[in-house]
């Protein structure tokens, strides 16, 4: 159709991208999914998902997304390994630039998701993989009978801190405010857990050590008091950053870098849709990613039908 390689290209292979791909393949839309590393997305690091409907016993993040991959594959979704570095959405044929290769499509679904926000403190980058981690499921077992610092106060920080207590003898949960944002059920569990000590009103100022992490410096934002917590690891869960830098103004973003969209998941560029954590959304869950993706896929179908109808006139 109209000189483009594909009718739709989906950027990103997390729950949003795989769901969109499943819907579009099933609808026999000529589509392709581009994934920069391996499919799965952020949910891969989630030990246990207990709020995705249909899994009353819960399911590991890796299992859930593996099932999504299989389901998309079953309907013939092709997946290629490529990182989209920049785009051109100015014309009817959308261009995606991936290093030496350029892909073209009549429509696009952006499902690039988000990545964990960094603390941006001294030591964080140097000790990544040497004590600094963003994934308790991956790395918690290295901290058996050790002491770790966890940073954050939302659902992820609290849930993952609880997971850490299965291994670590002590978890300092450092939170910048005097109350947690996490769901009440998670708060109840963390307050009842003797291995967790919450360090209120405090921020991490540095991660220190010799070869591996040995101490985490924290500062109380109310009193100004500074101290070093002895810790073998530092797990960071202070929110996420939408992965939208590559768009460089091609679609409208909000102040936080998330893609603005209407309820049909249409972005400011015609024929370009968004789904999942990259979107300006009040909730970032697997369920909302899947929901966004189903709506975006419908939008793509309608848009392509519109293009075809236009051609026949």
């Amino acid at each position: 159709m109209r000189g483009a390689d594909y009718d739709c290209i989906i950027i990103g292979g997390g729950p949003a991208g795989l769901t969109a791909g499943m819907y579009l393949s099933r609808a026999r839309v000529h589509c392709l999914l581009l994934e920069r590393t391996v499919c799965g997305g952020q949910i891969l690091v989630s030990d246990w998902v207990e709020n995705y409907p249909g899994f009353p016993e819960g399911v590991s993040g890796a299992d859930l997304v593996y099932r999504m991959s299989k389901q998309a594959e079953k309907f013939g979704l092709p997946v290629e390994n490529a990182e989209v570095e920049s785009v051109d959405f100015s014309g009817p044929v959308k261009k995606l630039f991936c290093g030496k290769k350029t892909y073209t499509a009549n429509s696009v679904i952006i499902a690039t998701g988000a990545s964990p926000r960094r603390l941006n403190v001294p030591g964080e980058q140097e000790y990544y993989g040497k004590g600094v981690s963003f994934c308790a499921t991956c790395d918690a077992p290295f901290y058996r009978d050790k002491t770790v610092v966890a940073v954050g106060g939302g659902d992820t920080a609290v849930q993952e801190s609880l997971f850490l207590t299965k291994f670590a003898k002590k978890v300092y949960l450092v939170h910048r405010r005097d109350k947690l944002r996490a769901a009440r059920v998670l708060q109840e569990r963390v307050f009842a857990n003797e291995r967790v000590e919450i360090v209120w009103d405090s921020v991490v100022t540095a991660v220190k050590g010799l070869f591996n992490v040995e101490r985490v410096s924290v500062k109380n934002v109310k009193t100004g008091e500074e101290k070093d917590l002895p810790a073998d690891g530092c797990f960071v869960w202070v929110g996420i950053t939408p992965l939208t830098d590559f768009l460089k103004g091609a679609v409208d973003l909000d102040a936080g870098g998330a893609i603005a969209a209407n309820q049909k998941m249409e972005t400011s560029a015609p024929g370009v849709f968004v789904a999942g954590d990259a979107r300006n959304t009040p909730l970032r869950q697997v369920a909302t990613a899947a929901g966004d993706a189903a709506v975006a896929a419908l939008g793509v179908e309608r848009y392509l039908e519109g293009l075809e109808a236009g051609e026949k006139l």
Binding site: V38, G40, I43, N81, S133, C138
Partner: protein
């Protein structure tokens, strides 16, 4: 585990990895690690593509705690490329297949 993959253990590490005449890529993983499971098929593909030229191994860090300890591994998946008994490159976290290929080719051409 596929036949093209070497199972690396604390017992055979010196003989099969450090003393290997070929470049060796070792994937340090564990069953409880989601990203490790996601990258596993990529490692298997590479093992198939490189059969006979580069040794590709997997080391389960649960069953073999000594070897990851030697290399200060505190996060997985970690991929280490060994050449002539030394670490040529260490990669932590999920990466694109092409980047693993580039790193192994760079080690091979040294």
């Amino acid at each position: 585990m596929s036949e093209a993959l070497l199972e690396v253990t604390d017992q055979n590490f010196d003989a099969e990895v450090l003393n290997s005449a070929k470049t060796v890529l070792v994937d340090f993983w564990a069953p409880w690690c989601g990203p490790c499971r996601a990258i596993a098929p990529v490692i298997e593909e590479l093992a198939g593509e490189w059969a006979g030229t580069v040794v590709v191994g997997k080391c389960n860090v649960d069953d073999n705690p000594v070897t990851p300890g030697k290399f200060g591994i505190r996060a997985i998946p970690t991929l280490i490329i060994f050449k002539n008994g030394a670490v040529a490159e260490q990669i932590t976290g999920l990466v694109q297949k092409g980047k693993i290929k580039d790193a192994v080719e760079a080690a091979n051409s040294k």
